[in-house]
Structure formats: C-alpha cells, structure tokens
Symmetry: C2
Subunit: 243 residues, 2 copies
C-alpha cells in the first residue's frame, strides 16, 4: 500500500524540491523525517519539482507504506520530525497504480506581485516586487490569449525534459487587493519555468512593453525571446494538484 | 527642520524596535543607516516600541535634518543602507513641535491568526497558528464589548509605563478568508501588550473558554488574570499611525 502526502513548505531556505548533492532540498528533509518515523530508509516520489525559493501549499509526495502506523497518523508523526518551514497537511492511502505526477489531472499555481514604489519587507520572500505601476486591465487582456491548448514553447525555459510542449491552460485569472496582484493559473501541466515566464510576460503587458494582442503571435512564433522575462522564484506557490 | 519617516519591517530577526545592549534592534539598524547617509551620528524618536518578532507596515520615526539631501530623497538614500527586512516607504518634513508618539491621534494594528489543524509554513512568522476550530461569530460578539473608552487594566501586561490605563478603542473588527482570521483594531493608544492580550481573549471566546458577554465584567474587574493569554508576537503588525 502507498501513502500520499499533501505538503506545505516555505521554499526560501531550500534548493528546491529535488534531492541533490551538496545542497539541502525539501525532498531530502522529508525523506529523512519519514525514515525516522518508519525506522527504515524511505524514498518518496514527488508530484512537482519546485525550484529554489518556490513555495508550496499543495505539493504531493508518495511513499511505500512500511510500518504499522495507521495512514492518517502519518501527518502527525512526520510533522514531529520536520522543522517549522515544512508541514504535512494530509496523509491518505492510494492505489498501487497511482502516480503523484502521471495521475495528476491539473495543477494550480499562484504567482504574487507586490506592485508599489518601495519594497514590503513582510512580502519579500513571497512576492516579486515590481515598482513600475502596472496596468491590471492590460494584464487581464493579455491573460485571455494564454488560456486554452497551445504549443507553449515561447514560455518554456531550456533544460526541460518534456516530450511535447503542448499544454492546456484551463484558467488564468488576475486579482488585485491593495498593492498585491495575484495571478492564479490552472492547467493540465506546465513546462519548465512556464508559470514564471507567463508572470514575466503579463508584467511586460502591464508595463506596456508587450501589446496584449501580440501574445497570440508570440505563442504562434514559439520564440522564447519574444516573451517576457522569467519572474523570480519567490513569487511562486504551488497551490493544488487535482487527481 | 525634522524629518518623519514611515517604515515597514519584518520583525522576525530583531529584538524589537528599541535600541538596547547586546541585541540587534530595528532602531539601531535604522540609526546606523541614517548616520551613514547624513555622515554624522543620528538618533531617531520612534512612534511605537514594537516587541521582538512584531512587524510593521506603518511605523514612524523622526530625526533632526542634518544634511543637504532634499526631504523626499531620504527614502531612497536610507533604503540603500538597509537590508531587505527594513524599508523606508515615505519621508516628509514635520514642524518643530511635532512628536511621533505624542502627536499621534490613533493607531491601527492587525493581528493575524491561522486557524487550521496543521501549520502553514508560509505564515509561520506572520500569524498565530491556532489548531482548535474557532467560532468567528463568538469572537465578533466579544469584540463589541471592547470597543469604546474603558479602563483596560485587564488587557495590560505588567511592565508598562503608562500613567493611566484608560484608552479608547474606536474600531475592532474581525474578518476571515480561507483559514486566516484578521483582527483589526484602531484606538487612541494601547497599553503594554494590549493588542496581543485582546487577541488572546478573542481566541478564548472563539474556543468557548470565555463567554462573549462576560467581557464586560472582565473589563470592569480590571483583573488581568480573567482575560485570555497574551497571543504570540509574530501575529502582530503595526499598520498605521494617524496624526
């Protein structure tokens, strides 16, 4: 039997999700914690490889149950072995053919921008500070052209391992409260850095560096250099994965 | 001529506002930054002595202008000398008889609670995690009895230096979005730990440990032991000071 965990973490002090040599990762911390709880070495399969500085409220990770602990108790047991910047929020049993990455139907990310002349210390690790005044209506108009099934090569950083660059964005909405702009995006999958490049492109639209209408052409061109910059990692949070 | 600064800071890594021996404070960091900009030793007068771990988006601090830098340029100049967890957001000229503390008409604080079974790593330094499910309506009812002019001895920690314990709370409102409860409080002044004890008392009301109606008696009793616990500092943010 396999156990699926839902995880929240502050990515500020980690070199991303994936276990690696010479740098501390969320995966390593989590595997160490589960191994202590189960009293044997445990490996997990993560749903999403979040980058350095990226946060999560709805990451998922699976491991083979190798202990008599009741499934729902893993949440409490693993949390006692984790620091305050990683938290298990749910543990549940999943079928043997379940895979955290391949079984996912869609994922939701949130990208947060702090749009004001001077930096906000409280949000410094959880938003991109853009001091140029952004035109929200232009960003919303640009977002409309991104929704749908497209070849998203223009929003893909090199280094990705995807077999195809076609993805479907089901929803892309923007909201603003005080000086905080939230970009919420839901899709069936995302290419390497795709959400951050979309955020950077929407910011360029808000700064009138890119015409909202031209997003259509940019997508058709498949040319990464025509899109906006890659927004910095700390604004990004993996919100939810649906199966 | 005096310069009044509006400041935002993340209090997580500081021993509060006030300069002290053997511990790093916001005031010390700010005075060092201004002294570098003005090329002479500068002392500031702060509006509010925030405690260790308490944050601010609208703290104020004043110093005597001792430089040819135009008033509005101090914002930029001082920020270049500060780390990312303290930020000057405004600099303005004030009259000689202005005092950041004594001239204040009212102040607004926000206290944030994360009300969910498991901790939220992203909010760990900016909220009080209460896992017991809180009844918001009871908290709102309790809040009504706190609004107005009262002797607030019951919500005052020992160690304060106030001459009178009578204060007026003009507004005290609660709102909830997802699992975050915000307590917004505005008053003409606050006793030592008053906002945090009010937050702790409202949480006790939400847990049914205190009857909302009994708040009236608790205030009249002037008995600190009958109120709730002092809520932890990291949930508190000084939002605004009005003159």
């Amino acid at each position: 039997m396999n156990v699926l965990l839902t995880l929240a973490y502050d990515g500020t002090n980690y070199h991303g999700w994936q276990r690696q040599e010479n740098a501390i990762s969320i995966q390593e911390r989590l595997e160490d914690a589960i191994s202590k709880v189960c009293k044997t070495e445990i490996s997990v399969i993560g749903a999403s490889r979040t980058d350095t500085g990226v946060h999560a409220l709805g990451q998922r990770a699976m491991f083979a149950k190798n202990s008599n602990i009741p499934i729902e108790k893993f949440t409490y047991a693993i949390n006692t072995q984790l620091g305050s910047d990683i938290s298990v929020v749910k543990s549940e049993a999943v079928a043997d053919d379940f895979h955290p990455r391949f079984s996912a139907k869609n994922k939701t990310y949130r990208y947060k921008i702090y749009n004001a002349p001077f930096r906000n210390p409280i949000l410094r690790n959880y938003s991109w500070h853009v001091y140029h005044d952004l035109a929200l209506e232009k960003m919303k108009e640009a977002a409309k052209y991104i929704i749908g099934e497209h070849d998203f090569s223009c929003f893909c950083a090199s280094g990705g391992q995807a077999k195809t660059t076609v993805r479907t964005v089901y929803n892309l909405s923007l909201s603003k409260e005080n000086n905080e702009i939230c970009i919420d995006i839901n899709g069936n999958g995302f290419l390497y850095n795709m959400v951050r490049i979309i955020a950077g492109t929407l910011v360029y639209a808000g700064m009138s560096k890119i015409e909202p209408k031209s997003i259509k052409d940019i997508i058709l061109s498949k040319d990464r250099t025509r899109a906006g910059i890659t927004a910095p990692p700390q604004g990004l949070t993996l919100m939810e994965i649906n199966y």
